[in-house]
Amino acid sequence: MNTLDAVFHALGDNTRRAVIARLGDGPASVKELAEPFPMALPSFMKHIAILENSGLITSEKQGRVRTCRLREDNFALAQQWFDAQRDLWESRTDRLADFVENQMMKGKNRDG
């Protein structure tokens, strides 16, 4: 998977999106992140691993505490992709507007 696919894959899950949302407020320990979810820690760690592999988060172990934080660059990558698709269709619709309005003018000139 390329990075963008990995990002979308990682974001394609409620638990992982909730983790991302929580990390938006600042770094947190795995224990703290896992708390709201009714699942065993090993299952939760799989979600953390997917997020980490996608490059959306990093984690660091100090003593017995693993702390997770967001990585900003890959969010920007996904955001850019969305933006590019939006730009493509917005400008295409603008050009269509120009085209049909020109066709109208030509029609009027012909009729007149």
Binding site: G12, R17, F75, Q85, W89, T93, A97
Partner: protein
């Protein structure tokens, strides 16, 4: 269809629906607005009916070319055009699906209310995304990315 899942572009076009329809129906018209200049669009296939093939070739200034082939899933005169590159003409599955576009036309006092809804997919992980409910999360992802990027800017 859930609006949260899509990129949606809406405009009021100051021309009646049949003029807008012609801009889509006739490939000679389509190539004039499909891609930005100096990209030259060539229409390879334009079977403008439900199940017909839809193909464009976009030629960049440096000579590189980008071809895309799709299928018109639904064509309802003066009302609706749905096409996807998940399929090619005759509903034959394509190798690398990417998007479905839903174009709608409605009467408006100033002309035509035009909207393009675009559902995207990432190529390689598409089935997994569907299985995992990726599209259910689209709106949420958008909001989170937006707010996250806003935070970065502040």
């Amino acid at each position: 269809m859930d609006e949260k899942l899509d990129i949606e572009i809406s405009r009021v076009l100051k021309a009646p629906r049949d003029i807008v329809w012609q801009a889509w129906r006739d490939p000679a018209n389509l190539v004039q607005w499909w891609a930005p200049k100096p990209v030259v669009t060539e229409s390879i296939k334009h079977e403008f009916y439900s199940g017909g093939g839809f193909g464009t070739l976009m030629r960049m200034e440096d000579g590189s070319e980008f071809a895309s082939e799709g299928c018109f899933l639904q064509v309802v005169e003066n009302e609706k055009i749905i096409f996807s590159d998940a399929l090619s003409g005759g509903w034959r599955p394509n190798a690398s699906p990417f998007m479905t576009a839903i174009i709608s036309l409605e009467d408006h006092p100033e002309g035509t209310a035009y909207s393009a809804q675009v559902l995207h997919n990432s190529e390689e992980a598409r089935q997994r995304h569907l299985d995992m409910g990726f599209f259910d999360g689209w709106g949420t992802v958008f909001e989170q990315l937006d707010s996250f990027v806003q935070q970065l800017k502040n």
